[in-house]
């Protein structure tokens, strides 16, 4: 088995998958802690469904090669709507559910009413389930994930105190004079960008898991914000590497294998958290 793994590791596309996977896992886990603490755990799933709806729209409009011009603005606007607009009648989780299901329905309906090119089923498969997209990344896409991780890490380093304040008590932060709207806007834009780009690289199934599982797993063991952030990154990267290697070796789909590894890690952390001190 080790021979097989070493053989595959010599392939450039496996190394690209590993690099992009680690970087995306790292970025998503950093954002995940903030989103889970703010009760937006399902935002990854919601925004990726919105991105799917936007992708369908771009196909119908005939904008296939430049589809990001449609997908990214729509998803960013949706993220702003979810994270910034405070509606008393429609709470955060309900707002995500409404937008997610509506966008998925619109996307699927558009693709049925306006049948488009031959590669659509492949794109649907790739954007929703990841399929083998992670193993077919180009060098440009790997560079995109490098830039993405630099932006997310930079945001966490430079805005850490403000993000901390907004995450735990937004009203108090606002009273102290902090521009919480700006922080929320930055978070919304970066969350949307991470989810859209990662969805194209690894699929919406995996990006939702990348946001939720490492953060929740880390919270089972650690209690301080910083420790949870660090442990979340470690667990996320570890889970991605184990999942990717497992899927390559036993021939299972990459996205779902990584998600199942995350589930295993979560159960393990949950067990550790339950242990008496």
């Amino acid at each position: 088995m080790l021979d097989k793994l070493l053989m595959y590791l010599q392939y450039p596309f496996v190394l690209r998958a590993l690099t992009a996977g680690i970087l995306i896992a790292f970025s998503a886990s950093l954002l995940g802690v903030i989103l889970v603490l703010r009760h937006y755990s399902y935002i990854g799933d919601g925004l990726s469904h919105v991105a799917f709806g936007a992708m369908s729209m771009s196909y119908v409009l005939g904008i296939v090669t430049q589809k990001m011009l449609i997908i990214l603005p729509i998803t960013v606007l949706t993220a702003i709507l979810i994270l910034r607009v405070k509606q008393k009648k429609v709470q955060g989780d309900a707002m995500i559910a409404i937008l997610s299901t509506a966008a998925l329905a619109i996307g699927y309906l558009l693709m049925n009413v306006f049948p488009v090119g031959a590669n659509v089923s492949s794109d649907v498969c790739t954007s929703l389930f990841g399929s083998t997209s992670m193993l077919t990344l180009s060098s440009g896409e790997v560079w995109a994930s490098v830039v993405l991780s630099i932006v997310v890490t930079g945001m966490m380093i430079f805005l850490y105190p403000r993000i901390f304040a907004v995450t735990f008590d937004e009203n108090f932060a606002k009273v102290t004079g902090m521009k919480t709207d700006q922080i929320n806007l930055i978070l919304a834009v970066i969350t949307a960008a991470v989810i859209v780009l990662a969805m194209n690289l690894v699929g919406s199934l995996l990006i939702s898991a990348l946001v939720i599982f490492p953060a929740l797993s880390a919270m089972q063991i650690e209690k301080s914000f910083l420790r949870v952030l660090i442990l979340s990154c470690i667990l996320s990267v570890t889970g991605t590497v184990i999942g990717l290697f497992t899927s390559i070796l036993i021939g299972t789909p990459v996205g779902s294998t990584i998600v199942l590894v995350y589930l295993g890690i979560f159960l393990l952390c949950f067990g550790i958290g339950m242990l008496p001190d």
Binding site: Y8, Y11, F129, S131, T132, T136, S247, L249, L275, D277
Partner: protein
């Protein structure tokens, strides 16, 4: 007191993690007996890979041809031919992923008088990946191809 509690919990965690990793390794060594490509005479013997890896490698060959020029491959796939002009035919082997939703094809070069299988026939091909001139562009193709219908 806090540190003592923390270290105890961490130690228990490490023991649990080690147990899981050992269990995983034993399971892997026992059950995952995958044939070794190192015994093959080809650079990439895709017949020994799982379906997703076959598709991934094929897609990468077509997307990043420069990395694979001069390499020998062997692959299982589906035969596809189409006429080009009056008496000229072009051929390709298509390789799909496990779900069958994604597929990629490698053009194959054959003599025109060879016994052409039906489109969709399951075939095994082997040969060397080289560039050919096609429609004014360089295109990667399988040359010196040996084709067998399964």
């Amino acid at each position: 007191m806090f540190w003592h509690r923390h270290v105890t919990r961490l130690r228990k965690g490490i023991i649990l993690c080690t147990a899981v990793l050992i269990g995983f390794s034993i399971h892997g060594i026992t059950y995952l007996s995958i044939p070794k490509n190192t015994q093959s005479s080809y650079d990439y013997d895709m017949t020994q890979y799982n379906k997703d890896m076959r598709y991934a490698l094929t897609a990468n060959i077509m997307n990043n041809p420069g990395e694979y020029i001069g390499k020998t491959i062997k692959a299982d796939g589906t035969f596809f031919s189409y006429p080009e002009g009056k008496d000229k035919w072009r051929y390709a082997v298509f390789i799909s992923d496990t779900m069958g939703c994604c597929s990629a094809g490698i053009p194959i070069l054959m003599n025109d008088d060879f016994q052409r299988p039906e489109n969709g026939a399951a075939i095994t091909v082997s040969g060397t990946l080289e560039y050919i001139e096609y429609a004014g562009k360089q295109q990667i193709s399988l040359q010196n191809t040996v084709l067998t219908v399964k």
